[in-house]
Symmetry: D2
Subunit: 389 residues, 4 copies
């Protein structure tokens, strides 16, 4: 057992930390941030800075232009990047691009990679992932998929409605989950400017950290050539799992950075603000919250590291990534909620960075499987004859 | 012991419920709502509707033009009004006007009442309450008051900075807390357009339910005649308590209405949305949240009723209103957080009313004394020789 | 709305409080307490004291020899009795006798009442209630009932095994739940010394407050005449509900008394024990626990009062008594757990009364329906078309 | 970073697991267990089995006769040993001997080691640790030490009272914490049969897993030669820290084993017991508890591993061992409490092993520093200029 970072990891950690502090945090008040995320010009500037710093898309393979980070490497780097709400956008490691890049590396054809993945790794284009549908379609339960792909010669014709499609406005390509006539699910790739893709509206949301916001979109007789199937036909759900297990974990990493940021802001405040005759933090009612924050963050970090290490060993980690997702999303949320409470009026106003973190993070307990779905899935595995381990 | 509503209470409950459902909820999507609350024109329309319905400023005395509600009456009516986020504005029972009206009735002179209170009860003008100050001034600990009032002939000259002043933009008058040269605290009344009052900026905040938002304001040699002292000089902290004990409780009432609204939205969703083969609510993971919501809401309601009844008996309720404030603010928050979780993606977007309630309500665990200050105060009383009771 | 106690209630409260303090608490260290509860001789002494004080079996009708307490009256008196762990035994208001007396009053024939109920109200005999069975029989789910009653002429012949039968050792009669050949459930009365009733063993348990402990018992061809059916045949489950709704609530009352006792012990300790330079209670980490205790106890009390009042109005309170049971059992448990924590080493040893309360109370979150079964039942009602109210 | 067990660790884990399952669990119902722990004859039998299996006192150095386990090795082995409540006694790794052995190895003289440590490592004698005192003496705040050691020639004369002295009855030697005339604290070694040591009484306690129970003891002019000072004079508090940081962590390890045992019992029950139409565990209300158990156990395990690894690197881990102690004691307690709830009636009776685990474990949130003292200490470090890291 060894908890040491490798020399390379330690260097990457340090470099990312400095990059975020010196290059990215100063842009946090930039007015090019909208209720639907940083706008494209701000994103381009952020990505440009990461490119210059040699930190762009670090999880992509070296062949594609990344740094070829392992899962544990990502745990180190992504936490640092998450320390600023603009950091994941800068490094091109935010959802949904981060997960799409991962999936494309694993299952896309060479041709698909050259067309979509390479420019994406270079930060020149963005993508989205179209799975979730309005009721009665696929939500927490993906098996309720309604969008259809009907074979027509060498093409497929796709119809359906999707929503909560993060990053759709401004994306260059989309990965579409649709079901074939035999009911099996398949993933398709399409340019976003293809006829038949309609962005119906932007959704107003609590978070505002994703460039392109969240969209309602519709496929109306979208025609996709057979060579734009991603991977093999009928393996859609399997690929969704391949994408999700590590993607969930990268959320845990990035939000851990944001939780740490909130905690640092709150700690600083607790050190200096006086009330009832002493520094706020000297009141146990506040000090205990700081202690609980530290426990929760370390808990999250250890689950992340352990699960990342397992992934690096080739373990699919369906169980462990579910567990880490619940543990981290809930622990990190408690941290941010406590920070709001410590900051008082300044926690619920834009006087401090924490209000925005609070708004951005709440959805994390919901997306990539709400806590309840993961608990149900964990329980099922624990109850099965062989247990989870 | 008797938990029956009086006939009048039952009628008021029914009338308010219908008024909110029929007249106010349809306005909830009205575009005249801004990040700093409903604008003045929307407010005027809302107030006009309540006036017409005979429900305007119901807590004011009949002499002043209200319905002369007792505290228990308020518990009934304010919960119903809170069922819409626009309801308290419509009935003119929102913070800070609700508490200011209560305080003015108790301690203002006849002349002060005619000048400011009567038009306020009629919904024609609004007010604000200037107590909280930036560090190192008065926050959760009011004794740190920095704003000064220096006697100059028959006048007082006030200097200082305040922030988190709810409703300041657009308010007609302000109650100012300042300390005299002997260090004692005194409340002053002033028109908001007096020379020497400067609204420095609006504060961006998580909530957006208060007309006029929250302001940073400054008093620069604000001159206030001696007859604009509210009540007696040097009784500022005492009046703050007189204002706060019931004002805290009215927050509990209004937010209980909002919690109930969120719960109804979530219950409806849990009844109809299907996942994993049955209605969402049939999954215990969701059903248990609904059960917990019901427990929490009933707990809040019972604490409100009991404390309101004690106030009606003449009990100052310093202990009980602190206790109710912590219990209700935390219980109602849990309800809303669970509703967000049940609604999933629709809980963190404007697809449903709940996201806005979530944003509006978070501050309730902070204002009028954060939970930690109340717990500290309750503990002190429990430990004192005679105990709390 | 009125939270006043009637003069009679206030007097009963005062009398019971003094009786417990002066007559019962001094017996708490009496060596006649065993791992299976106070022994019969101690019980007789306790009951004798209550009889003398005019407080014996106060919930029974005056006709039967009780004080004819309403449900709200019981809320007042039982909380006081519960202040000592011997109090409920003294007043003859402990489970299962309390609930059995209630049920017998409602549905027993005159003959049955004279034979069993009258001496029981006089404290001369005890009873037990035989419903729960080992797997795969009736547990939290009563519909899994296995014990059979087969008609044979005018008699019924009963066979089956029961466990967790509180008070069985030393009881004079038993109420047996068994199913008829048509599958319907029926309650039977039988003397405990009837041939065919076998007490197989005592069960070692966490609690030790019930005289007679908990038994495993077996019915082997127990022959019961038809006139020993309790109420009407086939109404067993309905009667179980009639018995349970108020019986659950009386648990809430008694344990509230025990929680208050623990809290008083812990508060006293927090006032006097010093650590790190001041009284323990002056540390917010401890003071906040006291504040939370007070909140939890008041929450429990208000739910009890409200539900009791509803029962007095003739409301069956299936929903409300479930809700109160979950709220109270969890709130009161939190109180006792916090008291253990405040007392430190003295909380986990017999140096203080709290360790025993901790051991006795844990089962309360389980019996008369574990929290999970109640939450499930509450959710089901909340989701039904008409809602719970 | 590497979470692999070494080959030796994996073998030790396997051997210990099998040893516990085959040799120790069958003795769990042995009647030689008393309210004050396994009696000496049972202890001897247990220790004999571990000796035969080559697993006795494995944390002692090889030189002294142990296996020379590192802290991480201990994490692996002690969790396995803890799977039976008799395991730590068998392996001679229970409090207080485990920590005493560790301290003796570090600071005792060769002579002291030969006299006391070597036979203790061989399992032939036991020891106790006399620090805690009745009010107003040393409790959670060790600086309140009252016991005095007054120099008299080459000897010291010790007077004072101690309580909660685990294992005192039957122990051969004691480590005594006393203060010198200059107020500094010093540790002394003494045979237990020395004149001047009086065991006043055994304390009845919630737990019953420690041989020798917990005693109140008194030193009356106990004369100790100067060469029985442990380590150097006046370093008592420093040694207490040296002893405590790892000792706290070994509690986390052993109790993790007990939590896992409880979880396995509850999982097995949830798989097989039916209620409301399906296996208990298929109800989300129960299944979610199993999932939470797994999360809590993994959280505890990761904190243990990480802190143990840091200790192995030579880090004193004052911060980390405090943090791990709070996290583990609370997480493991939640596991056991949930298991009680899942088992229902069988959770609160001796039908299952879990009731005893519940009783034994509650003190863990208190001893070696209650959660509140650790949170206070963590907060203080987090607030200090340099932070905790």
């Amino acid at each position: 057992m060894d908890f040491n970072l490798s020399e390379r990891q330690a260097q990457l950690q340090q470099r990312t930390r400095e990059f975020i502090r010196e290059q990215i945090i100063p842009l946090e008040k930039d007015p090019r941030q909208t209720p639907h995320g940083p706008d494209e010009s701000l994103r381009d500037e952020l990505v440009g800075k990461a490119r210059e710093a040699g930190l762009l898309t670090p999880h992509a393979s070296e062949e594609m232009g990344g740094l070829g980070l392992s899962h544990v490497d990502k745990a180190i780097v992504f936490e640092e990047a998450g320390y600023s709400r603009l950091g994941p956008t800068a490094l091109n490691i935010h959802a949904p691009d981060e997960g799409n890049i991962h999936l494309m590396e694993l299952v896309a054809t060479e041709e698909q990679k050259e067309r979509w993945l390479r420019p994406q790794v270079q930060g020149r284009i963005r993508s989205c992932f179209a799975m979730t549908e309005p009721s009665p379609g696929a939500g927490a339960d993906p098996s309720m998929l309604q969008t259809t792909a009907v074979r027509d010669g060498d093409d497929y014709v796709i119809n359906g409605q999707k929503w909560f499609i993060t990053g759709a406005f401004g994306a260059s390509y989309v990965i579409i989950m649709a079901k074939l006539e035999d009911g099996s699910a398949t993933m398709f790739l399409s340019d976003m400017d293809a006829p038949g893709i309609k962005l119906e509206r932007a959704m107003d949301s609590l978070d505002s950290c994703f460039t392109g916001g969240h969209a309602v979109m519709r496929f109306e007789n979208l025609r996709v050539p057979g060579n734009q199937i991603l991977g093999e036909a009928s393996k859609g759900f399997r690929y969704a799992q391949v994408r999700l297990a590590p993607a969930r974990l990268t959320h845990c990493m990035r939000w851990l950075g944001q939780a740490r940021r909130a905690h640092d802001v709150a700690t600083d405040y607790a050190r200096t603000r006086e009330a009832f005759g002493r520094a706020l933090g000297k009141h146990e009612g506040v000090g205990f919250m700081l202690a609980d924050n530290d426990m929760d963050m370390q808990t999250a970090r250890l689950h992340i590291w352990h699960t990342a290490w397992l992934l690096d060993q080739g373990n699919p980690c369906n169980f462990e990534s579910s567990r880490a997702k619940v543990v981290c999303s809930e622990a990190e949320w408690r941290v941010v909620d406590r920070c709001v409470q410590i900051l008082g009026g300044q926690g619920v106003t834009a006087e401090k960075e924490v209000m925005q973190i609070f708004m951005d993070m709440r959805s994390f307990r919901i997306y990539d499987g709400p806590s309840e779905v993961h608990r149900w899935s964990l329980a099922r595995k624990l109850l099965s004859a062989e247990g989870a381990h």
